[in-house]
């Protein structure tokens, strides 16, 4: 049978099918499926699992990539981040024989050069990061003390929840003020408001002037790609100049049996570019400056915008892979349905003969079998959607993963399962309709 003939035939019978006929045919189809409940269920399982896995996988994938993208976005898409990295061990060893002090990382000179020479750089944000204990009388918290500048909040999209962030005046006066990360407040000040109180670090006291908003995750670039289950690190923000004054530039670290000194000027330098399309060229320029200034590779440049683009590309590939898996599983499901429908047509040859003898036209038989197949795959699709919507909930409840069910994924999966019914139902239905009534009546 030629393609156009099938199409015109299909159009013809869709036109002539009245609603009442359709209703009746559906009732008849449902009864016939209900008569073989187990068989119908087993037939439809392929579609159920196909649809369900598409929805569930999309939801989990969507959730994961959403989280990654949010983390990257929180770094600021116009930002470029240069971080100090301890050089590889072999170089350290050769140096360590002459000096106790290990010197590496981004320097103030780098910051100044970048700010002064590269066009498009709006502002730079230096960060010094010191690990120490923070005390409130007898309560102690292991904390990252972040020495930075007043515009940290605006550049990192990180807001103060209570109180205020420190200002230029605090910087200039090298005043001993601090802003606490929200996560550490319950440990240090379980009963009272920390605002106006003092915390102790080593021998110095700092007055708490603000508390940051809660952040679900730690916004470091490493975190966007690496372990996500690590709880957000405790952080305390202090003016950069204050930190410089209190700690100097050499950090001592004592470990059991050994002693280590590091000289690091800046742990992190964030560069904000004035427009999105300049980000890549500025990143290139920064790379050149840094390569010129540093013989060893003791820094790392992260461009959140590029990470974001990479994440989007990964998501696209993921969606394509998922789409292919879905297509294959639905194809397999469809073949299963077609197989059963062909068997059903053979089994019901006699019924077809009787119906033909009693006045059923070919297209009545086509309708009957096609509706049965579409109902079968449609019911499978509904079951699959229900199951597929449930699984992400279970996953996010028990595994603590974020899942996002987009509206289009169940709709698409259901539509495709219906289409599978039509595509794989046409052939058995046409075969049933083309039987010779005389032969069919004689069939045992």
């Amino acid at each position: 049978m030629s393609e156009t003939k099938v199409q015109s035939g299909l159009r013809k019978f869709l036109h002539e099918l009245t609603l009442a006929q359709l209703q009746r045919a559906m009732r008849l189809g449902f009864r016939s499926l209900w008569q073989h409940r187990l068989r119908s269920l087993l037939t439809v399982l392929g579609i159920v699992f196909g649809v369900c896995s598409v929805i569930a996988m999309l939801a989990i994938g969507e959730g994961a990539s959403y989280e990654a993208q949010e983390q990257i976005k929180s770094l600021g898409s116009q930002n470029i981040i240069i971080r100090s990295v301890k050089p590889p061990d072999d170089q350290k060893a050769s140096q360590g024989s002459q000096s106790y002090v290990l010197q590496y990382g981004v320097t103030y000179t780098d910051a100044d050069q970048i700010q002064a020479t590269i066009p498009g750089v709006m502002v730079t944000l230096p960060v010094r990061d010191i690990h120490d204990y923070v005390w409130n009388i007898s309560r102690r918290v292991d904390c990252d003390i972040v020495g930075t500048v007043p515009w940290y909040t605006s550049m990192r999209n990180y807001r103060v929840a209570r109180g205020r962030f420190f200002t230029e005046n605090d910087m200039a006066a090298r005043s001993s003020v601090c802003v606490l990360g929200a996560e550490m407040v319950p440990s240090l000040f379980p009963l009272e408001s920390p605002l106006g109180k003092h915390v102790r670090v080593g021998g110095d006291y700092y007055q708490v002037i603000g508390v940051m908003e809660t952040r679900g995750h730690d916004a470091t670039p490493a975190d966007a790609t690496a372990s996500k289950d690590k709880p957000a690190a405790f952080r305390m923000f202090v003016p950069l100049e204050t930190i410089k004054m209190r700690y100097g530039e050499i950090l001592m670290r004592r470990r059991s049996g050994s002693f280590e000194a590091e000289r690091v000027q800046l742990h992190e330098l964030t560069v904000k570019v004035d427009s999105l399309d300049k980000v890549t060229t500025v990143a290139e320029a920064i790379k050149t400056v840094m390569e010129h200034n540093h013989k060893k590779k003791d820094y790392q440049i992260d461009v959140p915008l590029e990470m974001l683009r990479r994440a989007e590309r990964t998501k696209q590939i993921f969606n394509i892979v998922l789409g292919s898996i879905a297509a294959i599983s639905l194809l397999v499901g469809g073949i299963g349905i077609m197989n059963i429908m062909l068997a059903s047509v053979t089994e019901r040859t006699r019924e077809i003969g009787i119906r033909r003898a009693l006045g059923a036209r070919r297209r009545d038989i086509v309708t009957q079998f096609l509706i049965e197949t579409v109902m079968l795959s449609g019911i499978g699709g509904i079951m699959g959607v229900l199951l597929g919507v449930t699984i992400p909930f279970v996953v996010s409840h028990f595994a603590g993963m974020r899942t996002i069910i987009t509206l289009w994924s169940p709709l698409l999966a259901f539509t495709i399962s219906g289409l599978v019914g039509v595509v794989f139902g046409i052939y058995p239905a046409i075969r049933a309709a083309n039987m010779d009534p005389v032969e069919a009546l004689r069939h045992e």
């Binding site: 119906r355 006045g359 070919r362 297209r363 009545d364």
Partner: protein
């Protein structure tokens, strides 16, 4: 003089069985008038089944003409033949041919189902006919829950449901014990008395004798056409 309901005019039917051409009917002509009760008899292989398939519009003659109710059906396409079967013919088979998944009342309704009649009307007609064959207490039963005689009565009700021009019966008592057979034949007699046109294919002389006219076939020819 009643008008002709069935007119066969030199009808031939040949089948191609591989390389062999089988001539099942070699020029058959007869007229059946409204209200006649005709039996078609003959040994097996004489072309009875072929003739019945042609009469029932399940097949088309190779050559010749077949007029049913004055309408030439020998050249009609499949859809028109289906419509003719549904509207003008009633079938009764040897093996009842009821659909096992459907109840008695639903089986009776099938021919109306394909005529796009309103459901309530179908139900009402089917009820009336079930009552007429004495099965109004078994409407919700499935065919396998009934005896052979009862099943054949369902089939008769089904054959009458579309008020056909001609009722075609193929060995209607062939699968039944003698007493059920007699019951069925009594219903046929009643139908005849009511003026229905009946064509009955059988090789049971006792059954054949009840008809007022007998057509005997042999080797695809009409051997005799007599009134009893």
């Amino acid at each position: 003089m009643a008008s002709s309901i069935v007119q066969f005019d030199n009808v031939r039917k040949t089948y191609q069985m591989g390389p062999v051409t089988v001539e099942a009917l070699r020029g058959v002509s007869f007229d059946i008038k409204a209200g006649e009760y005709v039996s078609i008899m003959g040994p097996s292989g004489c072309g009875k089944s072929t003739l019945l398939n042609l009469l029932g519009c399940l097949d088309r003659p190779s050559t010749g003409r077949y007029l049913l109710g004055g309408e030439d059906v020998s050249g009609m396409d499949d859809d028109s033949l289906s419509a003719i079967r549904g509207a003008r013919l009633g079938f009764i088979f040897q093996s009842y041919n009821l659909i096992q998944q459907l109840t008695v009342i639903e089986n009776i309704e099938i021919p109306l189902y394909y005529q796009d009649r309103p459901e309530a009307e179908c139900r009402e007609i089917a009820h009336r006919l079930a009552a007429r064959v004495g099965l109004d207490h078994r409407l919700a039963h499935k065919p396998f829950e009934l005896s052979g005689g009862q099943q054949q009565r369902v089939a008769i009700a089904r054959a009458l449901v579309n008020d056909p021009l001609v009722i075609l019966a193929d060995e209607p008592t062939g699968n039944l014990d003698s007493s059920s057979g007699v019951d069925i034949m009594k219903i046929f007699d009643e139908l005849h008395a009511q003026g229905k046109t009946l064509i009955l294919v059988t090789h049971d002389p006792g059954v054949g004798k009840r008809a007022q006219r007998t057509i005997r076939l042999r080797d695809g020819h009409i051997e005799s056409d007599v009134r009893n």
